[in-house]
Symmetry: C2
Subunit: 228 residues, 2 copies
């Protein structure tokens, strides 16, 4: 069978609406038919992220969208991202620093579970997630070894079995490389949202804004979204 | 430190309210301080199961309870357990039969994720689940290898890391052995509920009722709950 005849595999891409997920989506559409998944879990900027999710899906003409509520994460708590009484760290993470207060315990596993269940129902063979280990916030569920282990669990615990792959194309990239890859793939970075605290103009001070701004600066580019 | 001084580890036990989860809970309380977790996900007998969950927790005097909604499973579908228009299989599963329609894709992984997140917040070191591979319904997320793989993922993806253990004390037991173990541990089996379709008197016909009734019969005992 020539590659022209080969059917593109169906992939589910988890899309928060942030920079990383937009570049991950841009990678996925080069190889796969795509369905997109977004989770609300009571985070401070939930509505703004959902708007970015739909804008990105519209941009790529993706019809198959699933938005779920991970309400259990709110019930469990333990993170400043869901608790207005706890401050969100400002500035860049320090080398070897403790896990930030914005860590939502095991959140990415919840999201992967939803993706795996949905993959079982729609027959998707790949799950893409834009997790970043190297230049990220040090969250334990952003480590490459976690995704390898979770893929094994998903294969062992589903009908799909060994057909299922979990793909993390950004896991070893620096933020500047992610920006460059996004520009190269013509990902609509102006539609993304990364700020942990604001919804109209980004604060420019939270850890997520600082990582993003440094990425654009190091890539020699300008972030197209508005800042306060 | 003598064993008399050793603090009992804190465990989270997932309790559906069925026979297996009650025996699993009875096992856990022999070794651990226990917190209990229950999930609603839109299953037909949700209210009846929740009543059984609280009755079991009351019986063991467990204060620390978490009830969560796994609403994403309802949004995903693909199972007769959440869809009144699909029939639920009757009778016992046949050897080598297809996965039953009542399989909720990857459900136990969702439940484990909630347990792991909660364990991170309350400092629990063990998660007990009463999954049964040998004499169960053939659901892929009830295989022993799935739990081994998921434990590895949970260790890789959390702060708790290698302290965390996932314990499945019933995984290799036959239903009759589970009944016997429950009687031996004086588990309050009269408080449990297993039927997939009814809430006042069990139907006695669905696969879950048939497995349960055969277990009691083979254990030479009588099921204490009412049947239609």
């Amino acid at each position: 069978m020539s590659s022209g005849q080969r059917k593109r595999p169906l992939a589910i891409v988890t899309v928060s609406g942030g920079l990383d997920s937009a570049v991950c989506l841009a990678e996925a559409v080069t190889e796969c038919e795509v369905a997109v998944l977004h989770a609300n879990y009571g985070q401070r900027t939930e509505e703004r992220e959902l708007r970015a999710f739909h804008a990105l899906a519209d941009h790529y003409g993706i019809e198959n969208r699933l938005v779920v509520e991970l309400s259990s994460l709110g019930a469990i708590g333990g993170t400043s991202l869901l608790d207005d009484s706890q401050p969100v760290e400002k500035g860049l993470p320090e080398e070897g620093a403790a896990i930030p207060s914005t860590y939502v315990p095991f959140r990415n596993a919840h999201l992967l579970c939803v993706a795996v269940s949905w993959a079982e129902v729609i027959g998707a063979e790949r799950i893409y997630m834009g997790a970043v280990e190297e230049d990220g916030s040090g969250y334990p569920d952003c480590r490459a070894e976690f995704y390898t282990a979770f893929e094994a669990a998903a294969r062992a615990g589903t009908r799909a079995g060994d057909r299922l792959r979990i793909v993390t194309p950004l896991i070893d990239l620096k933020k500047a490389d992610i920006v460059q890859r996004g520009l190269q793939l013509k990902a609509p970075l102006e539609l993304t949202w990364s700020c942990y605290t604001e919804s109209e103009a980004a604060c420019g001070e939270c850890e997520s804004c600082c990582l993003r701004l440094r990425g654009f600066a190091e890539a020699g580019s300008t972030d197209p979204i508005p800042y306060l």
